[in-house]
Symmetry: C2
Subunit: 247 residues, 2 copies
DNA sequence: TCAAAAGTGTTGTGTGTACACCCATGT
DNA sequence: ACATGGGTGTACACACAACACTTTTGA
């Protein structure tokens, strides 16, 4: 059982009570904030003002406080960037390549958030020109390993939209079936059949017709629906994989 | 944009170049090691010898070296505990509640490993009596938040066995269809239909019949198969969700 | 009256599920 | 000859995919 001599095993350290003996990495929480706007999936990026990667765009993030839970760090960051809270937030993956930040060792716990298009104008776009929504097919080269993190987030939501109800997190309280279908189409990147789609979501019973319609444009008004599922804000431990009804 | 005054945002810190100003947490990699033995799903646990949680069982883990990638820390830990390398290893989730370790702030990046029953006797059981395989339905109260971590790992493999080929990681190179079915049954916790199971795995084309049979007991010998899929050891970035053929 | 999106059913195809008997071996 | 697990096929139910026309509105 050969030990690396710069690193002590957990069991051993327990003997000595000595946890503070070794150099510690910095830990940040980065958050990929998704929304849908003009039928496109968008991500919020911020422009770096200083070395390293000066003038490159990056995923927002910040240090995790020494007494702060990881989720709260991500929530705080989300609040700082968008002014929003109680949105869908899920831990994505932890990235820790030693050289990912040229300054020092930084391990980042990546989260992603899905926010509804109606709340969206609150902040972010107001804040100078160094914070912007990017359509996911116009993502530039990003700072650090952020392209990789973003790709991973995209994979995750593309997978997860097929067997959970995350799609509703991207819509306002009231929405039409065409809007709902649009969310699926833009995330999956393919057209769906209108009749089959409507049949399925209706028989799953996850939406509720309202006594309202939405009129816009010169055509028949659309029935409005609302989401029946558990409300927008999830409890901490619900990040735990929960396979919902497949759509 | 209200800032917490003990914590600085990433964008701001970039201005000042100052990353080392704040207290840093310790970071560990914990690893849940699964195997199958006597038709039971088992987990490797170690007994703690000191405060905190003295004499409780715990998931093996250790500090992440300051220049060590997270995956390597997990691999190293796995090697220390079992003597094995090149096994299936996947990042699970990162746990960081401030009070999860009473000594100081410790964030743990949890991994899980699946190891094949044939390599299994190499280590671990040789090492005193404070390392043991526990059947997953006889898990005692564990140290730290390790029960939660283990539950999460179980959920993950139960989910993932349905749409990936991780099951093969728990079998030796050569196996019978009954053994393969056993892996599914013990992980899903339910009986499967023999004919349907065999039909499906065969039509997926992920296994290859060998010119060998396995005789044991007083009955007809069983055809041996081997796994066609990508080899046992995965490259780093392949942890990235890869939806394989559903079984 | 025209353009534009909303709304609505049926049929074929494929996939999952339920189910029972013969085979090869060791004792 | 018998006990033990290995091995095989068919029929039914259900889910998914393909597909076109009518309705309601504003201009």
């Amino acid at each position: 059982m050969a030990k690396d001599n710069t690193v002590q095993s957990y069991a051993e350290s327990a003997k000595t009570y000595d946890l503070a003996k070794y150099a510690k990495p910095s830990v940040t929480a980065d958050i990929i904030i998704f929304t849908i706007k003009r039928s496109e999936l968008k991500v919020l990026l911020i422009k770096r003002k200083a070395w390293p990667f000066k003038n490159l765009w990056a995923i927002p993030g910040g240090f995790v406080g020494i007494n702060e839970p990881l989720d709260e760090a991500a929530e705080r960051e989300l609040m700082e960037e968008t002014g929003l809270k109680d949105v869908y937030l899920e831990q994505l993956y932890t990235f820790g390549e030693p050289k990912r930040d040229p300054r020092t060792r930084v391990i980042t716990v990546a989260y992603y958030a899905l926010i509804s298009s109606d709340n969206m104008r609150l902040k972010a776009t107001t804040d100078a020109s160094d914070v912007r929504w990017f359509s996911i097919d116009e993502i530039p080269k990003l700072a650090f390993d952020h392209n990789q993190i973003l790709d991973y987030a995209l994979q995750r939501i593309r997978n997860k939209i097929e067997y959970t109800d995350i799609a509703f997190q991207l819509l306002p309280e009231k929405f039409t079936l065409t809007e709902l279908q649009g969310v699926y189409e833009v995330i999956l990147g393919k057209k769906l059949d209108k009749r089959n789609f409507r049949k399925k979501v209706k028989e799953i019973g996850i939406i509720m017709p309202l006594h309202e319609t939405k009129m816009e444009g010169a055509h028949r008004p659309a029935q409005l629906f609302s989401f029946k599922g558990s409300s927008r804000n999830r409890k901490k431990d619900e990040n735990i994989l929960k396979p919902a009804k497949k759509i």
